[in-house]
């Protein structure tokens, strides 16, 4: 097609050539519109540093998406890439640290892990005749599970030699960007020039015709999924080296970003079409969007809405473009029908641009006009009332002290948090408050802030291997101890209990669990009959508790590592809650406190999240003004029962 378009273009002016290029490629148009919109709205966007940041932030998604491109072109789907990435990174960190294997062998082992996962997918699909959706969905679960098993739920810090993969080359070119470019070129060559690549298009276009033309379809599929696994492993290594730690929970949901990038890039889920360049553009669109939304301080909640809308619009633009028949050369560009459609494409592009610009300027709260000190707050999640309270406390304090506070939500994804911290650094805030998803993983990004002389205050969780001006936290271990004491005393020092654990691998879960176990040592009459994770989630708390009650109907107490799970457990216990079974939660959230008042929750080990937020912002402002701070500011925890609940305010 390219040769034809080129031929028909000779004689046309450069401007009309450009117009054709844009019309031919809806995703590229969308990317350019986005870049123009972002540059217009934020002065911090179009700087060399920030554009490199965008590249780094796109790298993991792009590398995953390159692998997924192979699969989608051949009319398959791979949902397992996020999990496989996490598993490969875990294998690398585990073999290089615990097993003491040389790094280069560890890297080979990690890549081999990715390929093996892909091969299993391929075998299930080719020879087991499973639909790709199901086979890779199974691998999504297995891969995630294995990485938790290997890491025992905790992140594994990377050896320093591997962390260099996340550094820069020659002082400016980030290695992740380099890896992305190399993988992109490999993808383009594989798709365009190799036997397996051409076979992908044929298989995706018409599998039966490909088979009857002598292509060994089953064998090719093995290779296709193995390639996807290999790319996932590469993405996992890049991701983990950026964070200096392998997170068993890393890259969750990245498979969907990868698929979105491929489809935005012009591939069809029905197979037979797709290009490496399109996929790269798709990944860049997602990264530009996230980066720009951070820079513009768009509210964390609205960011997700905007991202969804832009994904839909980008693909829509491409669809309209295709319908318009983008190469009108031979059909006679002068026909009214074509003109109308071309106009429709322009109109849609204009609408997209207007929508993006409008939405951003509308959502982007508080411009940087004032002389107020700018503070960035990166929260691990806003999916939980506890963090929402930190957010409100921080907001109140910022308003009171007259500071511009920008809040981002990392959605429990350490790598997204690293991006957000990077964006804060490059937009030059006075100080950063970080509530790390993971203490190790936040290290490299905070070191970046250190280099730029921006003080960082940790809140709720600390940051490892980087300098923080202060840590504002509740004492989780102490809280666990207090919880054990309260529950044991309520039960008279004797009885059976179950523990609902938080998300495996999080520090809150580890510390609270450890504190509780320590506190329980003083009460040998209390027996823990079961200990199961419910991921800090109310629904999961309900399900897990229901299951546990089948096995242990006669328990006397429940310790939940947060209030949400405790409330789920109370639902499962029904009328038993607060009567024959005593439940203790953790956090002191509004819902939790209300349950304490109602008597269904015996006690909540209350933190004071709003207080955490307030104190963190106060300290951050002091630090921005160059004041020296105490290294740790402990906000006390408190066991709240029916007796003292009325007097307690978070």
């Amino acid at each position: 097609m390219a040769a034809d378009t080129l031929k028909s273009k000779t004689g046309a002016t450069g401007a009309s050539g450009l117009r054709r290029l844009l019309l031919d490629n809806g995703a590229l148009t969308a990317l350019i519109v986005l870049v123009i919109a972002m540059s217009a709205l934020s002065g911090d966007f179009l700087t060399a540093d920030n554009l490199l940041n965008v590249g780094v932030q796109a790298a993991v998604t792009a590398i995953l998406a390159f692998g997924v491109t192979f699969v989608i072109v051949s009319a398959g789907i791979d949902l397992s890439v996020g999990s496989v990435a996490a598993l490969s990174a875990t294998v690398l960190a585990w073999t290089a640290t615990s097993e003491g294997v040389p790094v280069w062998i560890a890297v080979i082992l990690a890549i081999a892990t990715g390929i093996a996962c892909g091969l299993v997918n391929g075998v299930l699909i080719s020879y087991g005749k499973l639909p790709p959706f199901i086979a890779t969905l199974a691998m999504l679960s297995v891969g995630r599970g294995l990485s938790l098993v290997i890491s025992q739920g905790s992140p594994i810090a990377f050896p320093d030699s591997v962390s260099h993969l996340g550094d820069t080359l020659g002082g400016w070119l980030p290695v992740p960007v380099l890896v992305m470019i190399v993988m992109g070129l490999i993808t383009a060559v594989v798709l365009g020039r190799t036997y397996i690549g051409r076979a992908m298009y044929a298989i995706g276009g018409n599998e039966e015709a490909a088979r009857l033309s002598g292509l060994r379809v089953k064998r090719q599929k093995l290779v296709i999924y193995a390639l996807s696994g290999l790319f996932a492993a590469a993405a996992g290594i890049v991701l983990a080296s950026r964070l200096s730690s392998a997170q068993p929970q890393a890259a969750q949901g990245y498979e969907l970003d990868a698929i979105a990038a491929v489809v935005i890039g012009g591939a069809s889920l029905a197979g037979g079409t797709g290009k490496a360049s399109g996929t790269l553009i798709g990944a860049l669109i997602l990264a530009v969007l996230r980066n720009g939304l951070n820079l513009l301080s768009v509210s964390a909640f609205w960011q997700q809405v905007v991202i969804g809308v832009v994904i839909a619009l980008a693909v829509l633009l491409d669809t309209v473009r295709r319908k318009a028949g983008a190469t009108p050369a031979a059909a006679g560009a002068g026909t009214p029908g074509n003109k109308g459609r071309q106009a429709a494409t322009y109109v849609l592009a204009a609408v997209v641009a207007a929508a993006i610009v409008g939405a951003m300027s509308f959502l982007h709260n508080g411009s940087s006009d004032g002389k107020n000190q700018k503070i960035g707050l990166s929260l691990s999640t806003l999916n939980n009332p506890f963090f929402v309270q930190i957010k409100s406390g921080a907001q109140e304090e910022a308003e009171k002290l007259g500071a511009d506070l920008t809040i981002t939500d990392a959605q429990n994804d350490a790598s997204q948090q690293a991006n957000q911290l990077q964006n804060f650094t490059s937009s030059g805030v006075g100080a950063i408050v970080v509530n790390p998803v993971d203490s190790d993983a936040a290290g490299p990004a905070v070191r970046g802030a250190n280099k730029a002389d921006i003080p960082v205050v940790g809140v709720d969780r600390g940051v490892n291997k980087a300098d923080t001006a202060a840590l504002v936290a509740s004492d989780n271990v102490e809280g666990g101890r207090l919880g054990a004491k309260a529950l044991a005393e309520k039960l008279g020092g004797k009885g059976t209990i179950v523990i609902l654990q938080g998300q495996a691998g999080t520090s809150a879960s580890r510390e609270r669990g450890a504190g509780f176990a320590e506190g329980l040592k003083a009460y040998p009459g209390i027996k823990v009959v079961a200990k199961q994770p419910a991921d800090f989630d109310r629904t999961k708390g309900l399900d897990v508790m229901t299951n546990l009650l089948q096995a242990h109907p006669d328990i006397d107490g429940v310790f939940a590592e947060n209030d949400e799970m405790a409330l789920g457990a109370i639902k499962a216990l029904g009328s038993k809650a607060g009567k024959s079974v005593s439940v203790i939660g953790f956090d002191g959230t509004p819902d939790g406190l209300k349950a304490v008042q109602d008597g269904t929750l015996y006690a909540s080990v209350a933190q004071q999240p709003s207080e955490l937020g307030r104190i963190a912002v106060r300290n951050a402002l002091k630090a921005a003004d160059g004041e020296k701070l105490d290294e740790t500011v402990m906000v006390p925890v408190k066991v709240v029962t029916a007796e003292n609940v009325d007097g307690f305010t978070g």
Binding site: Y195, A209, R216, T273, A330
Partner: protein, 527 residues
């Protein structure tokens, strides 16, 4: 009817539909370049033209799938714009395509009223729906239960259901795109009876067919389209050779130009091939320079046998040898390496990657051979594709045209071309000319001549009896999964072939089930 001086007592037939100077272009091709057409109440107006002439594009304009770039469409004398299926439905235009638009797992009644099911209290009123469907089915004269699942019906009945569906929409204009292509002679007679009844009811029918004898039997007027232009409107009584001349723009000297060669040694030997329950003890050979035809009823197991020979499907017993060496069972690549090629029955579903371009499709078979160290010799592939496309006379905008937009005959040339590039010695053709117009058919026959002249062997399945008789050197007739007999070309007549095709071969099939399974018996069509 076309005579304006007809019976003055009868009111002049009113015009339902008029098309004036329609033009339509697609990227790279001009599909229609000035077509005029009109349709009156109560007539059958035949649309005649080679594949690729623009008939399909024209009817897609009427059904709202495409919009004209220029020209006018008038319904009842008023200019209309048909922007989608809903507009066509509102104007009373219904189209029955070659590929049916039915949902296999819904019942007949549900299909007829799809999207318009009668409702009561928000729930579908099944009783009423089935009763109304029964009335419509009665009107088209087909005995099928409204509750039968569409999946279970044969092709003829599917078509009747489509017609019933069109009637349920109160269609005044009924467009039928090659409705007889897939029917047996008996079914065709039934269809004609229905069409005549609809004509009496005042429905205007646009009828597309490649079978010239049907024109005189059913039509009133004929509009001939060639290269996107309407080249003439003639009464249906026009002699066939005149119609052919109009259609292809020249007269066709010989329909079956078979040149018989000296046959050489046996290239393909099939011995006792059996797949339990499908075909039994099939043995034959094809020699170099020879065309062997396989005739038989649909369901006789012809396609199944050649797919097994090619390695696309497994078999239970027997051997397949090419030039004396035995092939591995169920291994397409072994068959290919030995020099066998298969042009499958379902061109679009099995022969082509429709959304890939001509060059890609032509290079599919040779892709592996053209790869070194995993890298494809793209330049060589392209040159080869250009050479073969030129040799076969594939009419296209260029090697980068998607094969989806080629006409049926040119698509088939691409499928054959990919095997020619691979130096195929034994070419199996399964219904090579189905749905292909006269001109392209002759070109494909010429190709077969060239192949055999070069020493290749051709095995050809065809349900078109004159074709089998005209092109084969020997005819094998299959019935009920067995070879019922072999006829040398001198003895092969339509009657002799039919007698064998409906016979019960020597040893009857082991299970009585396999006999009763063949419900939709389709007789090969004579001309």
């Amino acid at each position: 009817m076309s005579d304006p001086d007809g019976d003055p007592a009868e009111a002049p037939p009113t015009e339902l539909l008029r098309i004036e100077g329609i033009r339509k272009g697609f990227p790279g091709v001009v599909a229609l370049d000035g077509v005029d057409f009109d349709l009156r109440r109560g007539e059958v107006h035949v649309l005649l033209g080679e594949n690729g002439a623009g008939k399909s594009t024209l009817i897609k304009m009427l059904s709202g799938a495409h919009r004209p770039d220029e020209g006018r469409i008038l319904v009842d004398g008023e200019e209309v714009r048909i922007n989608g299926a809903q507009d066509a439905e509102r104007l009373g235009i219904a189209t029955i395509y070659q590929e049916f638009n039915l949902v296999p797992d819904l019942t007949v009644a549900e299909n007829i009223f799809l999207g318009r099911q009668p409702r009561r209290l928000g729930m579908i009123d099944r009783k009423r729906m089935e009763a109304e469907a029964a009335v419509l089915l009665e009107r088209v004269g087909v005995t099928v239960s409204p509750r039968a699942r569409v999946r279970e019906l044969g092709i003829a009945r599917l078509q009747m259901v489509e017609i019933a569906k069109a009637l349920s929409l109160d269609a005044r204009v009924l467009i039928m795109d090659e409705p007889t292509a897939v029917l047996t002679s008996e079914e065709v007679d039934k269809l004609f009876a229905i069409v005549r009844r609809l004509r009496e009811d005042g429905v205007g029918i646009v009828f597309i067919t490649h079978h010239l004898e049907e024109i005189a039997a059913l039509g009133d007027r004929v509009t001939v389209i060639r290269d996107g232009k309407s080249v003439g409107q003639v009464p249906a009584t026009t002699p066939e050779d005149e119609l052919v001349r109009l259609m292809v723009g020249r007269s066709i000297e010989q329909q079956y130009p078979r040149e018989r060669e000296e046959v050489g040694e046996a290239l393909l030997e099939v011995e006792g091939l059996t797949r339990d329950g499908v075909f039994h003890d099939v043995s034959f050979e094809v020699r170099a320079g020879e065309v062997v035809g396989i005739a038989g009823l649909v369901g006789a197991g012809r396609t199944e046998v050649v797919r097994a020979v090619f390695g696309a499907d497994p078999y239970d017993r027997g051997t397949v040898k090419v030039a004396g060496s035995e092939l591995r069972r169920h291994d397409v690549n072994a068959a290919m390496d030995a020099g066998i090629g298969l042009v499958p029955e379902d061109r679009k579903g099995q022969g082509l990657v429709l959304d890939a371009d001509v060059a890609e499709n032509l290079g599919l078979v040779t892709l592996r051979a053209a790869s070194k160290g995993g890298f494809v010799d793209l330049k060589g592939q392209k040159e080869a594709a250009a050479r073969i496309a030129e040799q076969l006379g594939v009419r296209m905008a260029g090697l980068h045209q998607h094969v989806r937009t080629l006409s049926g005959g040119n698509q088939q040339k691409v499928v054959i071309g990919k095997w020619l590039l691979a130096d195929t010695r034994v070419l199996i053709l399964d219904e090579p000319t189905r749905g292909i117009d006269v001109g392209a058919k002759v070109e494909i026959y010429q190709l077969i001549n060239e192949l055999t002249a070069a020493g290749a062997a051709v095995l050809m399945i065809s349900s078109d009896l004159p074709e089998v008789l005209g092109m084969s050197d020997r005819v094998l007739v299959m019935a009920q999964g067995r070879i019922a007999g072999e006829l040398p070309t001198e003895e092969a007549t339509q009657d002799a072939v039919m007698a064998l095709a409906v016979s019960t071969p020597t040893t009857p099939p082991t299970t009585p089930d396999s006999v009763t399974e063949v419900t939709e018996v389709e007789a090969p069509r004579g001309r």
